[in-house]
Amino acid sequence: MQPVKLAICIAVVAVYYSVYLNLALAADPEVLAKKVLCHTCLAKIYVAQANVGLATVEYQELLKLTPNDPALHFEYGNFLARNNKPELAAVQFKLAAKLKPAIPEYQVGLGNALMYSKDYNGAIAAYTKACLLGGKYQDQLQKAQQYEAQQKLYEQYQKKIEAQKDTE
């Protein structure tokens, strides 16, 4: 029984020490800044080399280090949007807009991502916010409204066809 207790004690101390060390290092602003610098450069290099997989890894590492950085969410969102992942991009733009709601560009990013995801209602809301914040995005808003109207017409048309099929 004694060796088991001893082993548990050693394990607890080791875990405690490792957690303490990690917290202490994570709290050190210089270490954090250095890691952010390295991951940022690596991410940009991989983006330039069109290495999407490794760039994604680097962005995720950056998000772990600075989860409350709206600019980083925005940049990652743009990266995802450029690589045909509008749904994932919309999540990042939403986070950026939530962290800093007064920036119209974040709202426009969200609007664009939602347009590509065919969520025209959401896009209209985002573009409207961007316009209210002082951005000149009336064209995008108008286009989103047209798309939404067209979608509604299409849905009505589909319903009509289904109703016709049912009567037949």
């Binding site: 290092l25 210089e30 270490v31 250095k34 890691k35 610098l37 390295c38 991951h39 450069c41 690596l42 940009k44 290099i45 330039a48 080399q49």
Partner: protein, 332 residues
């Protein structure tokens, strides 16, 4: 001698004593402070640089640091200052130069500044070199290491005025050491050969001396900036593309060079009837060895070693010479 004459003589004697007392005082007594650099001029440049940086005048700050570095090339603080200024102004080749000099002066700084070096390589577009450096920096980030802050040093104590009176005209160097320099009892004069005036003038025009330049590159000539305002003493800016860096910091591939027509020894004045034309420039695509004395551009272009001498055709013979000189210097 009357009492009145005696008093008068005593007064004159006192005045003379006071005069000689003041005469033998060291320059510090005049109220002069050479600052921690040990030199009034260097301290002044460092202060000017720090002030210019604070005022966001990065061009001036860089120039002042450059001057301070020229006078005291082994002081780390000035390279830190140059680093910080050039990071702000986005002159990454200068940042690379500053970091490289820091590593040369104190190799222990390599580890704590690895991330910054990786950043420089990224900005210079050397991705393949940057990736391993950045990964290594990430590995080392968690290791305990000495704190280094890359911030511009605060202004040094301002030297007092009246320095010229104390040191004499033209003497602006290290005043403290001049005063306290020990004079040996029996000076040993090394034997030396006397050079003729011509030899003295042309002494610098050799590969042995050119090889001491901060930066030596092999570059291809691309062309020059068309500008009507070109004279013998106002040379055009020639554009080269670096094909190989033999020595010095990882400069940007595009190398603007001030294309001087004189080697600063012979033909300092324009020869009679000299007129600029494309025939005065080299053939496009030709390969050259470029010696750059200071790897810092001036007004957007690099100055070559001894003007036109710093551009040598990259012939087999010249390349052999330079490689052998560099090999010898590495094996020394």
């Amino acid at each position: 001698m009357t009492m009145r004459e005696y008093n008068w003589l005593q007064f004159v004697y006192l005045l003379l004593c006071l005069f000689f007392f003041l005469l033998v005082q060291p320059p510090q007594a005049v109220g002069e402070d050479v600052g921690p650099t040990g030199s009034i001029t260097i301290t002044r440049h460092a202060n000017e640089a720090a002030k210019a940086f604070a005022a966001h005048d990065y061009g001036k700050a860089k120039e002042e640091y450059r001057k301070a570095i020229g006078l005291s090339p082994d002081r780390l603080e000035f390279y830190y200052g140059l680093y910080d200024v050039c990071v702000h102004s986005g002159e990454w080749d200068q940042v690379a130069y500053a970091l490289q000099r820091i590593f040369e002066i104190d190799p222990t700084k390599k580890q704590p500044l690895r991330a910054q070096y990786g950043e420089v390589l990224y900005h210079l577009g050397h991705y393949d070199e940057a990736i391993p450096v950045l990964k290594q920096a990430l590995k080392e980030a968690d290791l305990p290491q000495p704190k280094i802050s890359l911030v511009v040093p605060a202004p040094l104590p301002e030297p007092e005025k009246n320095t010229r009176a104390a040191t004499g005209p033209g003497q602006t160097g290290n005043v403290g050491s001049t005063v306290s320099a020990a004079i040996p009892d029996q000076p040993i004069i090394p034997p030396r050969t006397i050079m003729s005036a011509k030899e003295v003038n042309t002494f610098g025009l050799s590969f042995e001396n050119a090889a001491h330049s901060e930066c030596i590159v092999i570059a291809e000539y691309l062309g020059y900036d068309k500008n009507a305002d070109v004279y013998y003493t106002h040379p055009p800016i020639a554009n080269y593309s670096i094909t190989k860096i033999l020595k010095g910091p990882p400069l940007n591939r595009n190398l603007p060079v001030r294309y001087e027509f004189s080697d600063r020894v012979n033909d300092v004045q324009a020869p009679p009837g000299w007129k600029f034309g494309p025939d005065k420039m080299p053939k496009k695509g030709s390969s050259w060895i470029i010696f750059i004395k200071n790897a810092l551009p001036r007004d957007g272009a690099f100055d070559t070693y001894q003007g036109s001498y710093g551009r040598q055709p990259a012939t087999e013979e010249n390349l052999n010479k330079i490689y052998s000189l560099m090999e010898n210097s590495a094996n020394r």
